[in-house]
Assembly symmetry: D2
Homo-oligomer: 144 residues x 4
């Protein structure tokens, strides 16, 4: 399975008074890449929330911040999913600075592991992943 | 009617790479003051959204930014509501730096006028303001 | 001068508990479009802040919210600048839903007027607009 | 050393279209508690950034999300710091719902471990923690 990459530009809204991207805002970048990866499977989260009434909620994450991203930086966010049981997905994600000429990853900015559970949109109770997603995910024991 | 004031502290999350509060984030401060003013009337927005199914949505605003607020600043946000017809409220709001010793407004940071409509939580169609709110609001033609 | 349009996608980060884009977050969309318009002139704000030490700060804005934008919506943000004196620029901006097939503006979501001043990056004192920007801007009295 | 607790209210700005606090925004709450803990030692981060030119930057974090927080929830954020070498601090932090009557922690919402490095405000190179902070921190091997 080839790696999914999503481009992100750093705007004023993302930076803080230290002149770098505020630490919580990297999580927004990670979520955009997961959302766009899902869209490549042909599904939007608004549709899934409406029918069959499922949303995806982050239950745990780890992130290491390696180098600060700054205003106007062009970044690339990766998204490598793995199935974890029947109701959750684990994403390995990295944020790299884009190399200026090519849209290829350069310096590592941050790396993360994000665990996402599939839940009922109203009750927030765990639900089985929908089939389209189960079929798209390598199992944890399979080589990626 | 005496003026309602709500204290706000500026954190890293609010600032941008220019070292000052990001311009959109002042709108968050304004909304906190409106929410807390409503709470002084004995109502939370979560309850109102559930029963009778009403939410308040901003339909227009004007804001002037006078002086930048910075990290660690203590601010005071005012909230002076006026009734506008049967389904909307207009708030005159100001953000001041708090004077260090007393919790009293100092330099003006920003001033705004915010028009809020009462709508159905599902359809977003205009609804009559609930009685508790109509009764709490001076009419536009009355002196405040 | 033809209209500048910048595409924006609505993510979870932009929405609030009412299921629509939080009212302050439209200001982030407006600022992205202004930033990208500036980039089309060949300038990044990080470079300008470093040399010649200029940043652009919003001094006033008006916005009308016409229809709520929702999760997964594709939006188009316009940006029509006009010179206002020697040290500030006024932007007329609109946010439209993108029409699904073509990347063309559909329903109006919000319209705004944003006044931006050019200031010294350290002192925040007003500065004359740089020449490249003055030359790119129609004067207020000229037809656009 | 007794536990430091900081109260946080959930506003519309914090929620997302799922009706709960957006996962990145819990990191803002965590940072507010760390900032206020530092303030109890008599220091503001703006002063430290100016003289002696130090800022604190998050280098890694882990967080588990246990129960969603919702609009209008009153939360309590804890902050238990430990020294990690000469240039960084590790914070164990929890977010609990406040019990309505007393301002005491109720249900666990999230728990986190946050590693923060002291760096030069310009170069972002690691710096020794200032003495006031070293003296306030229990060493990793000491019982808290």
């Amino acid at each position: 399975m080839s790696e999914f990459l999503w481009p992100v530009r750093v705007y004023w809204e993302d930076t803080d008074g230290g002149g770098v991207v505020y630490y919580a805002n990297y999580l927004r970048y990670l979520e955009r890449a997961r959302t766009e990866w899902l869209r490549t499977l042909g599904y939007s989260q608004r549709e899934l929330a409406h029918d069959p009434g499922l949303i995806f909620t982050v239950i745990a994450l780890e992130i290491e911040y390696r180098r600060p991203a700054r205003l106007d930086d062009a970044l690339l966010v990766s998204c490598t999913p793995r199935r974890e049981g029947a109701a959750s997905v684990s994403f390995a994600q990295e944020i790299h600075r884009a190399q200026s000429a090519a849209a290829r990853p350069g310096e590592l900015v941050a790396s993360a592991r994000v665990r996402v559970a599939c839940v009922d949109a109203r009750s927030f109770r765990p639900q089985r992943l929908p089939d389209f997603l189960l079929n798209a995910l390598p199992k944890a024991q399979e080589p990626v």
